[in-house]
């Protein structure tokens, strides 16, 4: 990145040791401690633990549900990406918003919503006497996780369609005599292969890492995954054997993440390097040519209606169910205005909400504020990609993001639990380790928006290094850096997996409080808490939507 060249040179000299030390503290030491505990009792203990039928079962469950989720979410996300970026459906802007909406809702809230919409005594049960069989168990877990992960796949594939796949490439195929289906098969999908592969990897890691959804839908049905098993192990952490088992499971997760992410990342990086010669082109342009006549427009309307129906059933109804539950006096009563009350909100606010809200906001703000400079550090170091050290640092940070949250939480607990157990600080350390790579990506993304010669022009006009950054770089980067800050803030606010393993009596976050209320069998209050959490997230995310619109 030309724009960061000068910064990079200064960073190389002074900042690289700092970055290295921080990486060792935040990621290196915890992982080393984790491996020490997991392997410390020798290979026989590891083998015995892993072959224990319940542990092996949990690992197997995690693997096959995550594989299914990855397949479902990626195919769904790809189909949606083709629909929004290429098909020219009516109401495409609304469809995009509908796809992104689930991202605002923490997956465990979605799972809770599904139980309130399609579970026993849920909306469809009360209204029609039908409920979704198998909601509690692997089917429900796979469905809800796939719905939660599909937007991630959509973001990746739609991004590739909009920026990498010049519409002329598909037009050329049509003009060469290929029909829409042949064009999709011979041009669009082959060129999307890298994006589809990274969508598969991201959704798989997302699903393996998921804790809230299997905790809500799997645990009551006796269906354990690696993460829920670890949670139970740590709940009995007084038992040293359980603690070791948690460590071994966490190490297994680390190994899994590395096995999946490593090769895919290497392959994709190679592809990216090979692709630099190619031209990027018209953004989001629709490729017309499909029957535009009356038949075509009817087909488009039907497709748009189908997507709308899916949105209502998969996303909107569960969210409404949570809202209705929060408004209804008791579970089992019909959610009609006669039974409405605000008492649940009163109880939620009264009981635990205030402290947890303060905790969550403080943690999220601290994480976002620290992660962004940390990310800038790496973005600037790694921007000078010729230096091998920069790449090593960036890979290490990416590792933190790829590591399942539960494994990272156990690792941080092992490394620093002695001093920091039950404090906000230990949760913050875990957040920083986890979100560092996210911050790096945000900063690197905004640096890419900086016109290549903007800083050089400032230098050539007589500005010194820092003056150029202050007068030209900072004003240009400010909006995207602010957006990056909000993104990290939202991720932290969402976070449940690590928080649920690390919180103490006085450091429960909002997500943890919602989950605990739900698990204590208090649906109305947990629904009220969930509504407040989602509302808070939505309010904070609102400026992002405006910024995104202003940018396009």
């Amino acid at each position: 990145m030309a724009a960061s060249g000068r910064l990079g040179r200064m960073a190389d000299l002074r900042l690289r040791p700092l970055a290295a030390v921080l990486l060792v503290v935040l990621i290196g030491i915890p992982i080393a401690r984790l491996l020490g505990v997991a392997l410390g009792d020798g290979p026989t203990v590891v083998a015995a633990t892993l072959t224990d039928s319940r542990v092996a079962g949990a690992i197997g469950n995690s693997l096959w549900t995550a594989a299914l989720v990855a397949l479902l979410a990626t195919s769904g996300g790809t189909a949606l990406a083709l629909a929004t970026e290429r098909a020219g459906l009516p109401g495409t802007a609304w469809i995009r918003a509908g796809i992104l909406l689930p991202l605002l809702c923490p997956p465990f809230v979605t799972a809770f919503g599904w139980t309130r919409a399609y579970g026993p005594r849920g909306l469809t049960d009360q209204a029609l006497g039908i409920e979704l069989p198998g909601l509690y168990g692997p089917l429900g877990i796979v469905l809800v996780l796939a719905v939660a992960a599909a937007p991630l796949a959509w973001l990746i594939v739609a991004g590739a369609l909009a920026s990498r796949l010049e519409p002329d490439l598909e037009r050329a195929a049509r003009a060469a005599g290929a029909g829409p289906g042949t064009t999709l098969r011979t041009v669009t999908l082959p060129l999307l292969r890298p994006a589809i592969l990274s969508a598969l990897v991201v959704t798989f890691v997302f699903a393996v890492n998921a804790f809230g959804v299997p905790a809500i839908l799997g645990t009551p049905a006796g269906f354990a995954t690696i993460t829920t098993r670890m949670y139970q192990d740590l709940a009995r952490s007084a038992d040293p054997a359980a603690f070791v088992e948690a460590g071994i499971l966490a190490a297994t997760l680390v190994a899994l993440a590395l096995l999946v992410v490593g090769p895919a990342d290497a392959w994709l990086t190679g592809r990216a390097a090979a692709r630099t010669a190619e031209t990027a082109g018209g953004r989001g342009a629709r490729v017309p040519g499909g029957g535009r006549g009356a038949r075509g427009s009817r087909a488009r309307s039907i497709a748009a209606a189908g997507i709308g129906l899916g949105f209502v059933l998969l996303t909107l109804l569960p969210l409404c169910a949570v809202l209705l539950t929060a408004l209804t006096r008791a579970v089992g009563l019909a959610p009609v205005p006669g039974n409405w009350t605000l008492a649940n909100f009163g109880e939620a606010l009264d009981a635990r909400f205030g402290d947890a809200l303060a905790t969550s906001l403080l943690l999220a703000a601290a994480a976002a504020t620290i992660v962004l400079p940390l990310g800038a550090l790496l973005a600037v170091l790694a921007g000078r990609s010729r230096t091998r050290g920069g790449n090593v640092l960036r890979t290490a940070a990416t590792l933190g993001f790829a590591l399942p949250g539960s494994a990272l939480a156990v690792a941080v607990l092992l490394a620093y639990g002695g001093w920091l157990r039950d404090t906000l600080a230990i949760i913050l350390v875990a957040y920083l380790a986890k979100f560092w790579a996210l911050g790096q990506r945000q900063v690197a993304g905004s640096l890419e928006r900086l016109p290549a010669d903007a800083l050089r022009a400032a230098r050539a006009s007589g500005a010194g290094g820092w003056t150029a950054v202050r007068t030209i770089g900072a004003p240009l980067l400010r909006p995207s850096l602010l957006a990056g800050w909000i993104v990290v803030f939202l991720f932290a606010l969402h976070e449940l997996t690590m928080s649920s393993l690390l919180y103490g009596p006085r450091s429960a976050t909002l997500s943890v409080v919602v989950l605990n209320a739900q698990q204590l069998g208090d649906p109305t209050v947990s629904a009220a808490l969930a509504v407040l959490l989602v509302g808070l997230i939505a309010v904070i995310a609102l400026p992002l939507a405006f910024m995104a619109r202003a940018r396009t």
Partner: protein, 364 residues
Amino acid sequence: MDAADVDDRLLPAAELRGLAVGYGERLVIDGLDLTVARGEMVVLLGPSGSSKTTILAAVAGFVPVRGGEIRIAGRTVATPSRHDPPERRDVAVVFQGAALWPHLSAADTVAYPIRRRGTGPRDADREARRILGRLGIEDLAGRRPAELSGGEQQRVGLGRALARGAALHLLDEPTAHLDGPLRDRLLDEIAATRRESGAAGLYATHDTGEALAIADRVALVRAGRIVQAGSPTEVYEAPIDTWAARLTGPASEIEAVLVGFGSGSAGFGGELAELDVGGVRIRSRIDGAALGPGPARLLIRPDWAALGGSLPGRVGAVRFRGSHTDVDLDTPAGAVTIRRPGPPSVGVGDTPGWSLARGRILPT
């Protein structure tokens, strides 16, 4: 189809009648008529933003039409209620940025349209290599776009269009990303292959030299309308207005008074006339729309005037261009650019005088 009793080969390659195309609420083309005869190369010449690319896109089937009709080889392919997709139109497209598929080799790219006709992979590959051979790039058959230079990429794109075997080639500024000699070589290649294949061409460009060099007929496009159409010589020598004059080549405009016509004919569309230019009487070959005595605005191409003569002028700028030299003169009637062969013979500030061999009266 709808003209089954007429021999298809006698029908125009393309007919656009009352074409209207729009994006959103806005019509960018409204009521455009254009016919491309069999084997004819029509160049759409216009500045960027004049919607010439949109005309090609409508003919190719990339955008729907809002009004009018498009026929290709006698077959109706687009009306407001009908939209044949590109693969069912008898067209081949050469794209501005080549639009090669990153995952296919040159041979596979050229074989692609052949395969879509149902030809087996082996035969298609043989045919593709034959086409690459004709373009002199058979040695690049195994390379992917990332391993090709800009000129090579565009040549592969041309091969892909040839392989389509279409009646009409649509070329959207195919030389835009090339420079200098590469550009000329590709132009020669396009002209030669089109002659061989007998296909008609519709070629969009903003480059005047390119348009005049390759066209059988040039259509000047302005804001989605065809302002003038004619042979390259016609549009160069007889532009209909100032805008058309400046689009089709270097042009100077001066104020003059047409005094009267002499006797005798004066070649191409012009007559020998007596002019008052800045107070000096001269005789010169004049043509134009409004040939009547009185004040007139006179268009002068750089090759229509010469240094030395009875008209006064002072050299404002001299640009040596290698094979010739352009001299800007400030004259009482307005600025005039004169082109003469060879290196500069005058310097800035000189007052060599000048003469006018011919001119064209522009409408006021």
